[in-house]
């Protein structure tokens, strides 16, 4: 296979990854890295370098649509950004420390966790009537978001716990070149009790910034290969734009379950390959 066919094939795969990723809300990076390593035999460091770049593209593209709707809590996002960026700097520096096989196994385990987290049924916390949390009040994190019945107020809780989990999300993002969206949403909706739509939109705001912190280190360590990153970035971006256009008005619950099963199978394969060689 020469470079032209290779690039075209990667771009086509990346397009599908971006399309499915935006349709299910899981992001395209989850598919790109396993496909590049398992099917095309690329070293995982090149694969995560390319995938990280594509995450910045999709997150920024989607955020452009999100910000106008008023779900994003910029204060929560910016505050937690300190934790994710610090974590990402640690994670991105660790890529050079771990052997490729260990990275592959960690990637597989993270995929399994994300597949579980995204299909888990979520219960909305009603926090408007709770007493205010002292730290959240001091940081003025409580806010409101638009609903069909008008603006709905919500209170934010457990700021230190959310901050700690966000640091871990940052480490994973830097180490594996992923957005860690599932862990970010977990920190916000399960620990800090933010409403789903606010968690999702704020997580999206944060993913691009976290990835940009890792990208600086990736570039300096030489993990970002233009020949590989080019078809991945263009393909994922185009696919996610098409997917985002279809998203409105469709129910995606069944699709998410199906996608989670596919991801779990890929995850097991990565763990197997990492543990027993071949990578």
């Amino acid at each position: 296979m020469n470079t032209l066919t290779f690039s075209a094939t990667i771009a086509a795969v990346a397009f599908c990854a971006g399309f499915l990723g935006s349709l299910t809300g899981l992001g395209g990076g989850f598919i790109v890295t396993p496909v590049l390593t398992l099917l095309f035999g690329a070293d995982i460091r090149y694969a995560i370098g390319a995938s990280l770049i594509s995450i910045i593209a999709t997150s920024s593209g989607a955020a452009a649509a999100y910000v106008k709707e008023g779900f994003t809590n910029l204060r929560v996002g910016m505050l937690l950004e300190i934790a994710t960026v610090l974590g990402a700097l640690v994670g991105a520096s660790l890529v050079a420390v771990f052997p490729a096989r260990v990275l592959t196994v960690i990637f597989g385990l993270m995929l399994l966790l994300s597949a579980y987290l995204t299909t888990r049924p979520r219960a909305e916390h009603l926090t408007a009537d709770l007493p205010p949390d002292p730290l959240a009040t001091r940081l003025r994190l409580d806010s409101e978001y638009p609903t069909a019945a008008g603006p709905q107020r919500y209170r934010v809780r457990h700021v230190p716990g959310g901050f700690a989990l966000m640091w871990i999300a940052g480490v994973l993002s830097g180490l594996l070149g992923i957005g860690s969206g599932a862990v970010k949403v977990l920190a916000m909706d399960q620990v800090m009790f933010l409403p789903f739509k606010v968690s999702t939109a704020t997580s999206n705001f944060m993913i691009g910034v976290t990835a940009a912190a890792s990208a600086g280190i990736y570039l300096r360590h030489g993990y970002v290969d233009p020949g590989l990153a080019m078809p991945v970035m263009l393909g994922v971006l185009a696919g996610s734009m098409v997917g985002a256009r279809l998203l409105f008005g469709t129910s995606t619950r069944r699709l998410r379950v199906l996608f989670a099963i596919v991801i779990a199978v890929i995850a097991l394969q990565m763990i197997y390959h990492g543990a027993f060689g071949k990578v």
Binding site: D43, I56, R75, L139, L219, H221, G222
Partner: protein, 125 residues
């Protein structure tokens, strides 16, 4: 106690940030595409090999050398486009800091500036 001031949802700022993101992404995609076409034009017939990790050559690693080399080759131009893409969220944080400053929200101006400093440090090395 509830905060009586409006949250950072000013439509004008939000729209500006939304447009900034869109322009940043589309501009970088255009540069990457141009670099990609140039790269494939010259190297489309080569056999790619990403099996063994060698790391990129030094001139594709630092901001200064990417900016210097960008016009030279397809790979350099792609790398410049990727750099533009990485700069987009950084610019967004800077914009958000300004939005907080406009609202005289001193705590969050400081928080945003801290995030910005960390990002710039990671990029500059």
């Amino acid at each position: 106690m509830t905060d009586s001031r409006p949250p950072v949802h000013h439509l004008r700022v939000q729209n500006a940030v939304g447009n900034l993101l869109r322009i940043g992404v589309l501009l970088s995609a255009a540069v990457v595409l141009a670099g990609g076409v140039l790269f494939l034009w010259h190297h489309g017939g080569d056999v790619p090999d990403y099996r063994v990790f060698r790391g990129e050559p030094l001139d594709l690693r630092s901001i200064a050398s990417i900016l210097r080399d960008a016009s030279g080759s397809g790979r350099g131009l792609v790398q410049l486009g990727l750099l533009l893409l990485v700069a987009t969220p950084v610019a967004r944080v800077a914009f958000t800091a300004i939005a907080f400053a406009v609202e005289r929200d001193r705590t969050y101006v400081l928080i945003a500036l801290l995030v910005l400093a960390l990002l710039l440090k990671s990029l500059a090395g």
